[in-house]
Symmetry: C2
Subunit: 188 residues, 2 copies
């Protein structure tokens, strides 16, 4: 069991998404996921707490990247524009994962349990962004409101970007959503 | 069992919150909630699907009230200001329930399962508000972004309003949060 398994995490995440898409989330077992990835159940549980968590393998990376980009945005940037820098950074991460993101979103939308976990992850991301803004000297409630607004852009932009009819890149869709949010909150 | 039980729903919600505050959510059984409310377990399950749901007894009323106020806002109101009318309406509903709201929030924050359910309810509220804005002729993605922004104000304002140190009324806290959101998205 101690053998080195190149990208075991990634292989299991890929296998899980394939199986969830083919047969449905409910109908898939951890044993089947491990088998498809050419690994053991024990290896699965070394990397993921449960069948849900395997679909959120990338959420730590997403949060880290988003937070770092906001933290490192030019000091002069207003909170909402620091979040814009973060949206640019995460767009780059997703740009070549569109097919994966589409499949994943379809699986998550179809299952209440998965949707719950997704909402928890997004709430954690929002809290981390608010914290990052406070470290940049933004007071409350401005920090929390800006973080929630940035997250709204991410959620709505993401839903748009995964549409089959949407051909533009994620960075462009996100920037447009951010502009749209600014317009709509300005009372346009 | 067929006897008329005045406000059975409300009595059970009150009993549940008391017990969850005293002993913790995990440690409380449905039988205990029913007993404290002077009702039977069978009556409990006639009103609530489970131990979680009893804490969300008011979420339907909240959504209905919020949606109706937004739908009936002056036709000339911009989307964000129609949401402001909705926030005024729900503030009125909550104004005399501050102690209840404080206790409830403390119980929910302490339990991951309850937090999940809360997030699901808020996501449903956001979807209902976006739908209401679309019926007012607001296009996408503006409708979804405005709804998410309005919900951000509600969430952040609510957290502030339940603070023991916060003495101002909910309507005032909400209006201030909305103004703050407008300022922060304008790049202030």
């Amino acid at each position: 069991m101690g053998r080195w398994q190149p990208d075991a995490r990634g292989r299991m995440a890929k296998a899980a998404l394939e199986l969830y898409s083919e047969r449905g989330y409910e109908q898939t077992t951890v044993a089947e996921i491990a088998r498809r990835a050419g690994l053991t159940e024990r290896t699965f549980f070394r990397h993921y707490a449960d069948k849900r968590e395997v679909l959120f393998a990338g959420s730590g990376e997403l949060e880290e990247l988003f937070v770092r980009a906001v933290a490192e945005a030019p000091e002069s940037a207003a909170p909402i524009d620091a979040l814009g820098v973060g949206l640019d950074a995460v767009s780059e991460l997703f740009e070549d994962r569109r097919e994966y993101a589409r499949k994943r979103q379809a699986v998550i939308t179809a299952n209440a349990e998965l949707l719950e976990r997704e909402l928890i992850k997004l709430a954690s991301l929002s809290a981390a962004l608010a914290d990052t803004l406070r470290r940049r000297g933004v007071a409350e409630p401005a920090a929390s409101l800006a973080a929630e607004a940035g997250l709204a852009v991410f959620k709505v932009g993401f839903q748009r970007w995964v549409l089959v009819s949407e051909e533009r890149g994620m960075a462009q869709v996100m920037r447009e959503s951010l502009d749209e949010l600014k317009a709509v909150t300005a009372g346009a």
